[in-house]
Amino acid sequence: MNNLTNLLTRAFFMSTPLVLGALGEVIAERTGMMVTAVEGIFLIGAWGGFIGAYISGNIWLGFLIAMFCGLTVAALYALTTVYMNQHQIVMGTAIAILVSGFCTFFYRVIFGIQTTPLKVLVLPNMEIPILSKIPFLGAIIFSQNMITYCTYILVPIVFFIIFKTSLGLTLRSCGENPEAVDAAGLNVRLVRFGAVLVAGSLGGIAGAYYSLCNVGMYTSEIISGRGWIAFGICFLGNWNPLGALIFGIVFGISEAIGIYVKALGLSTIPSELFSALPYILVIILTVCRKELRVPNRLGAKYLKEN
């Protein structure tokens, strides 16, 4: 029982940045923009978050800077894809390479060569008064950190915005038929640009989660593919914030189980299998989930000649 609680606590803990990243991705993809720069955004978030927190000594300032960094990279991505009509997938690749070079380079510029790791104190967990006393669930869900709680709160908010407000209607319409949005007198490019910026901000925070909530340090391999998992979760969650939450937790659990089995040190099952588990899961789930409703113009350029 205790072991299970620990495992699930870890699962929820690890699912937070995935959900956060996927939420941003949902918002952007609803407008037709795949934020393929997600790896780069996560990475620069982790980088900026750490540097901000280390230098200022204030972890929240770190998150703010991470958000700003993610936003900047997203702005670069949106500028080139939305306003300069470059291809989304291609641009994402270019940005991933650029950001990885940038972060490593400037980490050294800022800190020089260190022989012991620079660290910050990670964001402490915070038990929510009453709720954390609920048996089982209390320990798993209500004894996490602030960012995790914010993520939980963000899910219904994003859901509400997307499905119940005029802004959401505009967002969704941009992904379905941008010409119609244009004809209705709205600025498609601005909407897309804004949505990508939001995705970038959330992605930046998600990245910072790894450096500021998880390990309290920055390394160039800190993201290693997790941004893509968030990207996949957005697909699997059917471009729905609730779906993103559910699949984010599914992946948190799968990662936790993978770790659990690996930690048992069984030599009979190859541990590589568990390392590959999240990726295999994405493949299987994408193939199996037939009812996916892709935004009609996801990934397509919107060329407007006037």
């Binding site: 022989t115 660290k119 998880n214 390394t219 391999e221 800190i222 290693s224 936790a256 690996k262 930690a263």
Partner: protein, 319 residues
């Protein structure tokens, strides 16, 4: 310690200009700020520069696919000594070295010496880890050890073997009859998150003393150990300052060995495959106050025994 003294002597003698004229390069597979293997080798090079007045060029983050090219490049440029740190350089070195007989190739952690000019230096990591195991044995309360390695290569397996053997033996001698070690591999050297998650899982599974040998990922392991209020034994670098949960570290003090290598090569005394270990001063044990006197004594004794060749550590190897 001996070599240090010698070095200082030679500085006094003022023949360091000789060393300054040597063209030496150190090739590292990872980033020099990885806080582990690469960092400590870089420190070795810096030590030489300071001690001997050499000007060692350090080339970092050389990807696997460029090993051969890089060795060739410095052979072509007529370097006197091409050093590289990591057994993964062995094969590439063997392929290139015979073509440039005037250049000496040294692979730290390597074992292969096919030609005259190949002088691999192999640190007997399993000796150092045995000592680390003793520290762990005195640290544990419940006799449950967690051991982790970056990937499962033979040297890694051997050093974990001796570590576990020492730890369990000591724990049993302290009356913890069911002492046991649990081992797993991270499959990554660099991913801090995985290091952290694995460690906390292993502590959840009952371990109270943790050992992790990988690069950046080690920091994740220490982090988790601190959070879960367990204890950590550092290896390959001095981890004591990183967190209070580190009870002691067995540092690989390349700073002691590098000058020795360079001097040996300069004088032509160093030939063929070299093995260095506790005796040569590669390992420096740094204990914190958390270690009991009993522990300190045991560590000292083991160090002496190994130096004297009284302990057969190979008996513990699982294969």
């Amino acid at each position: 310690k001996e070599s240090k003294a010698e070095a200082q002597e030679s500085v006094k003698e003022g023949d360091n200009s000789d060393y300054a004229g040597m063209k030496i390069v150190l090739i590292l597979p990872g980033s020099i700020d990885d806080q582990s293997w690469n960092a400590s080798n870089n420190a070795g090079a810096k030590q030489c520069d300071k001690e001997l007045g050499t000007k060692i060029e350090v080339v970092e983050s050389v990807p696997v696919e460029e090993f051969e090219q890089t060795f060739t490049e410095y052979g072509e440029k007529g370097y006197d000594l091409v050093m590289s740190a990591g057994s993964q350089f062995d094969e590439a070195c063997a392929a290139v070295a015979p073509q440039y007989p005037k250049t000496v190739y040294t692979v730290i952690n390597g074992t292969k010496s096919d030609s005259e000019n190949m002088v691999p230096v192999f640190p007997k990591e399993y000796e150092g880890s045995y000592i680390a195991g003793i520290i762990a044995g005195y640290t544990t309360k419940n006799g449950n050890f967690a051991t982790m390695g970056g990937e499962s290569n033979l040297a890694m397996v051997h050093l974990l073997d001796t570590y576990e053997a020492a730890a369990v033996e000591v724990a049993k001698s302290r009356g913890i009859a069911d002492a046991k070690a649990n081992r797993s591999f991270l499959n990554t050297w660099t991913d801090v998150s995985i290091g952290k998650a694995m460690t906390s899982q292993m502590i959840d599974n009952g371990a109270d003393t943790v050992f992790c040998y990988s690069n950046e990922a080690t920091s994740g392991a220490i982090q988790a150990t601190a959070e879960k209020k367990a204890k950590f034994v550092g290896f390959a670098a001095n981890k004591n300052t990183e967190s209070d949960c580190v009870v002691g570290s067995v540092d690989m003090a390349w700073a002691n060995v590098y000058p020795w290598i360079i001097k040996g090569i300069k004088s032509g005394e160093l030939k063929g495959a070299q093995e260095v270990g506790v005796k040569e001063g590669v390992f420096e044990t740094i204990l914190t106050d958390q270690c009991s006197d009993e522990c300190k004594a045991a560590v000292e004794k083991a160090t002496e025994d190994i130096t004297a060749g009284k302990l057969d550590l190979k008996q513990y190897f699982s294969n």
